[in-house]
Structures are given as structure tokens and as C-alpha cells.
Amino acid sequence: MIVEQISIFLENRAGRLADVTRTLAEAGINIRALSLADTTDFGILRLIVTDHEKAKQALKENGFTVGRTNVVAAEVEDRPGGLHAILTMLSENGINVEYMYAFVQQSGQNAVLIFRFDRTEEAVETLQKNGVRIIPGDELYNI
């Protein structure tokens, strides 16, 4: 049920993001989803890729600080109120969202939400109980 996300520490310098994408391109890794959080001094790039082990290896070899986090991917209908319904059920169960980002699947009618929770297992249980489909990691990497 868990999706592996890699995160990369980046200084706010021109060309740093391109250095990451070049490294991944050269290693033959495809990016499934990404989100960039930034402050005045630094940023954290969060990525879901086709092969996180290989990506992590390649990035580390190129001198990046790379972390790994478990996130949850939930499928939601691509219509008004879709995200709201999910956030409501989470808040009713007292589950905090540390951060989240989303992307729309090319093929279907659905969007994918990537969540980082403070209590991952409870969150997954709540979502499933309410009929939300959780996308397994292997499925997501190979979309």
C-alpha cells in the first residue's frame, strides 16, 4: 500500500534542479510525480520515480543528499469536490496531512493524490474504509 518517495536537498542556485533531472535522465529513470518545497535558502524536491533504488544510487553518486519517505497515493475522481471529500474524512478522524501534491492521470477520469501523513497506517485504514482506492507503489511506478 506504501509508495516510496525520494527527496533531495537543493540549494537555491541556478541550475541545481536541472542537475537532478540530468542525473535521472542519464540513469534512464522516469519521473512519475514531483513537488518542490522551498524557502529563501534551500528547497526540497520530492519525487516518485520508476525505480527509486536506482534513482537514489545515481543521485548519491552525484553528490546529492537524498532521503526516502513513505507516502500514500490515493485515487480520486477528477471532479469538483473530489479532494474535499477525502480531506473531510481525514480531518473527521483527526489525521494530519504533513504535505500533499497531486497529478491527473493521462488515461482515465481520475486524479492521484500523494499524501504524507503523521500516522500513515491509520490514514490508509480510514481511506479504505470510506471506499477510497489506495494505489500500490508498484502500480504507481509503472503507470
Partner: protein, 433 residues
């Protein structure tokens, strides 16, 4: 004006005779009262009786900052602790501060020498002295304070911070003498302009600037902007505090070391050998009259040279030229002494931090800034921004708490700190330009 005409204008031979007399007494005193010195003398196979003339001083042992730390807190006292009426201390991580004690007479001597320094700057009892040196364990604030009172002037114990209010007080009270670090004087100037206060609204006549290195260009800049005479003062807490040496307003060309109380030498910092008068090297000072904590041949690590040319002001005490550098890696940031090793130990004590850091010192709007760059490694990395920001805050907080200096902490990528020949370049000081 000369505050103590008799002592300040002694002919050199009489001055040196006085120094020798006081030095002999000092050696007896530290040998018998400070175990550290007795041990040192024994190691060298020497005793106080081996000093027959001032030139014998060169055989005597040095005292280093580390010796003071090793004898923390009161091990260097030459008097019983209850005879000490005041203690000052320099910044340091826990257990590593440099402590200095003063007897009642030491406090009075210090006030007298500081008053002498004020007079050398042309100040009199009619002046209003605005003192922005920090009050507290740092010697700057209280040192200047007691000196101004001994002189009989009006002292404003403003201390540091709240710069806008300082400028208003200076205008409203009609301050004539300013005591602060040279960089803070420029910050006061910028703040005055920003607050709509013109320099012509101020009555400042002379500035007594110390506690950090500055250049002749900076002096000219300060003089032009603040429309006052900018003079250099020298002191260090280990020896006494401000007022070890002072530039006279008559010549404005180097600082008279008050030689009836302090015996200066210049040595080669590498070999420890004394250098001929006039050559540049490390300043070494022996305290001649300190009671609570006399120091023999204290290595100041300040680089300067002695100018033996008689001064037009009539004082016979030799002058040193402005301090041009350090023989160690000590940094002076907003008047606070900071060793890179202190920051390193703070980083190492903060869990998970890498030993790779870099200090960037700059000057913005006349004020020194310190940025601590720390490399982010996997064991401290988190994909949550707030985690890293909390870490940055924690480091800055520890630096403020232990070293008393405000620092901005920035996380950088590994290897983001330039390494030359495998060795990281730890210090980037942009103020020197």
C-alpha cells in the same frame, strides 16, 4: 591634557626603572601565589631571582589563553577569592570561558587608566560620554563606565542595541563623546539618517572606537560621516579591559601603551623570540600592577609593531600601531571574540550535524554579519522543510547562547563548501575589502 603628568611623561630611563621594580615584585608574587606559575618556572629551571634586568624577561615563560582555560575558573588568581570584588569573562562554550578577576585596587587602577585614555582623547569632566559598549561579563561597558566617572564626566550607560533610541538620546542629551566599536558607529550613522536625524543635530566631537580591527580608510569614512575625530583604543579582558592603550588626539597616530602598568614586547609568533623594536610581530603583555590576576608575558595574538619615536603629545610611553591582524584564527564579530573551534564544537554537540561548516563574515550597513553554513547529510536530512528550519534555528540559538553573537545558519549541499587541497575553506571574511 595629560591626566597623570608625572607618570605619563616619565623620562624613559625612569619609566624603565619603575617597570623593573614592578616586574621583580610581580615575579615574586606569582611564583608564590599561583601554582600554575610556580610549576612553569620549575619546568624551566628558573626562579624570580633570575630576572636582573628588563632584558632577562625574554627567558621567562609565556602565558597563553589556553592556560587561563585550563585553570578555569579561579585557578589564576594570585589573591584569595574573597579579595576579588569583580569577575569578567569572555565568551566561550561551557567550561571554556576566559575568566578575569579584579581586586578593589584593580578596579580603581582600571578606572584611572581608562580616565587617562579619555583625557588622551581630549575628553574632560565637562563631556557627556555616550557608552554603547555592552555592559555585562564583557569588559567594554563597565570599563569605559568607571573610567568616565573617574574622569568626572557625565556617562550615559546605554549599552548595545535599540539603535534608533540611541541616536535620539545622543541628540536629546547632547552627547559629545561616543564609545563603541567602529562598525557600530557606522550603524548609528545609518540609523540616524533613516530616522531623519541629521549629523548637525548631534554634538559629537570625538569617538573612542575599539574591540575590533579597523582600517585607516574606515577611520576616514567614520570621521567624514559622523563629523568627529575617530580614535583607536586597545584593550583585552585577560589583561584588564579597554584602556590598555589609547591613541592621543594630538597625534592620532598609534596607541600609547600605558607602560607604567603594562610591559609590551613584540615576538615572532612562530619562534616566540623577541623582535627588535619597530618590527612587526605578536604583541605580548606583562601586567605590572594587577593584583587579582597578574599575567606574565601574555600572548595577545594581536599583530602590531612598537613605535619608539617620541610623540608630539609629550607622553613618553611607546605607541603601538593599529592592530593589523591575528596570529591565530580568532574572529571579532561586532566586538565579540569568536574562535571557529567554538562554532565547530557547538555543531558537533547538535545531534547528527556534519563537521563540515563554513563561516561567512560580511558587513551590511556598517554592521558585521555572521553566516554559518552547514552541510546537509543524510542522517540529518528530512523531507519536511520545518524540520530543517528548526535545526537552523537551534544552531543559531546555541551560538547566541554560548558565544553571544547573532548568526544566521544556512543549510548547504554536501561539498557545497569549497575545499582546497582537500581542506575545507572554513572562513570567508568579506570585511577586509
Amino acid at each position: 591634557m595629560v591626566f597623570d603628568v608625572q607618570k605619563e611623561t616619565l623620562p624613559r630611563d625612569e619609566l624603565e626603572a619603575l617597570q623593573l621594580k614592578r616586574l621583580k615584585y610581580l615575579l615574586q608574587k606569582i611564583y608564590h601565589n599561583v601554582p600554575f606559575y610556580k610549576q612553569k618556572f620549575k619546568e624551566l629551571g628558573l626562579g624570580p631571582e633570575n630576572l636582573k634586568s628588563l632584558s632577562d624577561l625574554r627567558q621567562m615563560p609565556f602565558t597563553e589563553k589556553q592556560d587561563l582555560r585550563n585553570n578555569y575558573p579561579f585557578g589564576m588568581f594570585a589573591v584569595p577569592r574573597e579579595s576579588v570584588v569583580r569577575v569578567h569573562a569572555s565568551s566561550g562554550t561551557t567550561g571554556k570561558a576566559t575568566v578575569v578577576g579584579y581586586t578593589q585596587r584593580d578596579v580603581e587602577t582600571w578606572a584611572g587608566l581608562m580616565a587617562r585614555s579619555f583625557e588622551a582623547a581630549g575628553a574632560t569632566r565637562t563631556d557627556i560620554i555616550h557608552n554603547s559598549y555592552g555592559y555585562g561579563l564583557f569588559t567594554g561597558g563597565l570599563g569605559a563606565h568607571y573610567g568616565a566617572e573617574a574622569l568626572g564626566a557625565t556617562i550615559l550607560p546605554v549599552s548595545g542595541g535599540a539603535t534608533k533610541r540611541q541616536v535620539m538620546l545622543m541628540r536629546d542629551f547632547g552627547s559629545t563623546v561616543l564609545c563603541c566599536t567602529p562598525s557600530y558607529s557606522l550603524h548609528l550613522y545609518e540609523t540616524a539618517l533613516a530616522s531623519g536625524i541629521s549629523i548637525s543635530d548631534l554634538k559629537l566631537r570625538v569617538g573612542i572606537f575599539g574591540a575590533e580591527p579597523w582600517t585607516e580608510e574606515m577611520r576616514q569614512d567614520i570621521q567624514n560621516k559622523l563629523e568627529l575625530k575617530a580614535l583607536d583604543i586597545y584593550g583585552l579582558s585577560e589583561i584588564m579591559g579597554p584602556g590598555v592603550g589609547m591613541e592621543c588626539i594630538a597625534a592620532q597616530d598609534g596607541l600609547h601603551i600605558w607602560e607604567d602598568h603594562f610591559l609590551p614586547e613584540i615576538i615572532d609568533p612562530d619562534s616566540g623570540e623577541p623582535l627588535p623594536v619597530g618590527e612587526k610581530g605578536e604583541l605580548v603583555i606583562t601586567t605590572l600592577t594587577k593584583e587579582a590576576q597578574p599575567l606574565l608575558r601574555y600572548r595577545t595574538r594581536d599583530i602590531t609593531r612598537i613605535n619608539p619615536v617620541p610623540c608630539r603629545c609629550g607622553r613618553t610611553h611607546y605607541r603601538i600601531e593599529r592592530i593589523t591582524g591575528r596570529s591565530d584564527d580568532m574572529l571579532i564579530i561586532r566586538g565579540v571574540n569568536v574562535f571557529p573551534s567554538q562554532i565547530e564544537s557547538i555543531l558537533l554537540e547538535t545531534e547528527g550535524l556534519s563537521p563540515h561548516y563554513q563561516l561567512v563574515i560580511d558587513r551590511e550597513g556598517g554592521m558585521d554579519t555572521l553566516e554559518v553554513r552547514v552541510e546537509v547529510h543524510e542522517n540529518m536530512f528530512s523531507d519536511e522543510i520545518r524540520h530543517l528550519q528548526r535545526l537552523e534555528k537551534k544552531i543559531s540559538g546555541h551560538i547566541k547562547e554560548f558565544l553571544g553573537v547573532t548568526a544566521k545558519t544556512t543549510m548547504v549541499e554536501p561539498q557545497g563548501i569549497a575545499r582546497s587541497e582537500g581542506k575545507a575553506q572554513r572562513i570567508i571574511d568579506r570585511r577586509k575589502k
